[in-house]
Symmetry: C2
Subunit: 257 residues, 2 copies
């Protein structure tokens, strides 16, 4: 019975897509059936597997538009145990329409995900960098959520807005996902700014910050360039090992439960 | 008579806010009256000047909501010749409402900017990382636009969507802004990926890429941490000098015209 995790942060470029792709790949490498769902109009998931948005005949846009079944949107990633679905849109109008679909029918994604849970152990939902209808749709669809955070000032300042919005949603009696934690990403050990952000995040969120921190490494920037997760082209490198540790951290509470 | 420039890129974290703030500061240092308008719900402009969103009694949200005059939203930045206006929103509902205001009344920003042109030489509009109604509002309000681009694969793949959307808008007879150019940002000279992206961008966009490239430097990440542009705390450093050169590149066509 699958678990769905929304990968969310209203700040741009913190690493939502990079984390979703490589964490899903690390769990797939351990034998879990994983599905990645890209609800970001930017289609970052598609690029991360070396495909063009035009390669997808069927995607999120179509099934939000009630065409076809949720299954028709599933694509093989080329990595064992790992599939994906992406928003297959291009123009500004399509982006507007996708957002309107999500606004009009926020339950649509949740219903599809309930059906996917029969066949996948983990479902990761890659969100856009805002708190709009697509992100909201993902948050009400997911069992839990995690927040990648670039260890820099502007990303750190984005956090309160996310947590306040979730608290507000919960106060209205809407079920909100369980918080798995903040994942510090693009960590560079040599700068004081980075150390300052990490210290403040750990102080303010103590046990809700993953132990694993993902370093800034060009290997992760290369994922979209090579069209494969880092565990596929550099399995013994530091980045791949970090995502393996992160996968264990995700699995740990499940094993102990 | 002022010129307005939209700073736009549908990819998150490429440096829109960092470029808008530091370029406006570099022009302000040269004696030009500059105004920064943050239409991103994330309020990155506010954080970059060391303020909290709650410090602003009046912002974009209010004048989109037709309260007060465009002038009531103007804040002093603390830097000579440099003022700013920010979206003063917080919750998810306010974000939704701001976007709806922009959708219902896309001309609102343009009319306000026309009035600002009487007192400012340059007006920079910092856009959110998407092609939604707020970005659209900025693009139809601006005389010109520039595209900061992180020299990495996912950012590079975001470009065609932006240009296609603008071409589509122009084809409908809607006036679109003049393209000033792509600004390569977060350039690290030592990685092949970076060099590959730069090469492809220069090949595909030749004379529409700024000569100046902004390096990845912790000084720029510190702007939001210190709450001041880099020219204010490190005027002789490389980052400040790059923005000075960029300001000259912006001024050059104007001088020659
Ligand atoms: N740990 C890392 N080391 C090096 N580069 C990274 C790392 N994490 C992410 N990147 C790179 O930083 C850029 C931003 O990452 P990514 O696109 O995954 O962030 P995002 O939060 O999904 O962005 P958006 O808000 O646009 O959806 C990408 O070019 C990516 O390759
Ligand atoms: N040249 C640079 N060198 C080092 N850090 C940089 C540089 N440019 C931007 N940054 C940092 O990278 C992060 C993203 O930059 P910024 O917030 O300006 O991008 P953005 O495009 O405005 O993001 P968003 O899409 O969320 O609006 C910030 O933490 C910023 O301080
Ligand atoms: Mg992304
Ligand atoms: Mg920004």
């Amino acid at each position: 019975m699958g678990r769905s995790v929304a990968v969310v942060c209203p700040k741009g470029g913190v690493g939502k897509t990079t984390v979703a792709v490589n964490l899903a790949a690390a769990l797939a490498d351990k034998g879990f059936q994983c599905l990645l769902i890209g609800v970001d109009p930017q289609c970052g998931i598609v690029s991360s597997f070396g495909r063009g948005h035009y390669d997808l005949d069927f995607g999120l846009f179509d099934f939000f538009d009630s065409q076809g079944t949720p299954d028709s949107a599933i694509q093989e990633s080329g990595i064992a145990n790992l599939d994906f679905i992406s928003s297959n849109i291009w123009s500004r109008e399509e982006e507007l329409e996708l957002v309107n679909h999500a606004k009009a029918n926020p339950e649509c994604l949740r219903n599809a995900i309930e059906s996917y849970k029969q066949r996948y152990d983990f479902i990761f939902i890659d969100c856009p960098p805002n708190l709009g209808p697509l992100t909201f749709s993902a948050l009400i669809a997911a069992d839990s959520y995690m927040v990648p955070l670039q260890a820099e000032e502007l990303a750190y300042r984005a956090l309160p807005r996310l947590f306040d919005s979730l608290a507000e949603t919960a106060a209205k009696g809407i079920r909100t996902p369980e918080f798995l934690g903040i994942l510090l990403n693009q960590v560079s050990t040599r700068t004081r700014l980075c150390a300052s952000v990490i210290r403040r995040v750990r102080e303010e969120h103590s046990d809700q910050v993953f132990q694993t921190m993902i370093p800034r490494t060009v290997r992760l920037a290369e994922v979209a360039y090579r069209g494969r997760p880092v565990s596929s082209f550099n399995p013994s490198g530091r980045a791949a090992r970090c995502f393996e540790e992160l996968a264990d951290e995700i699995l740990h509470p499940i094993i102990e439960a």
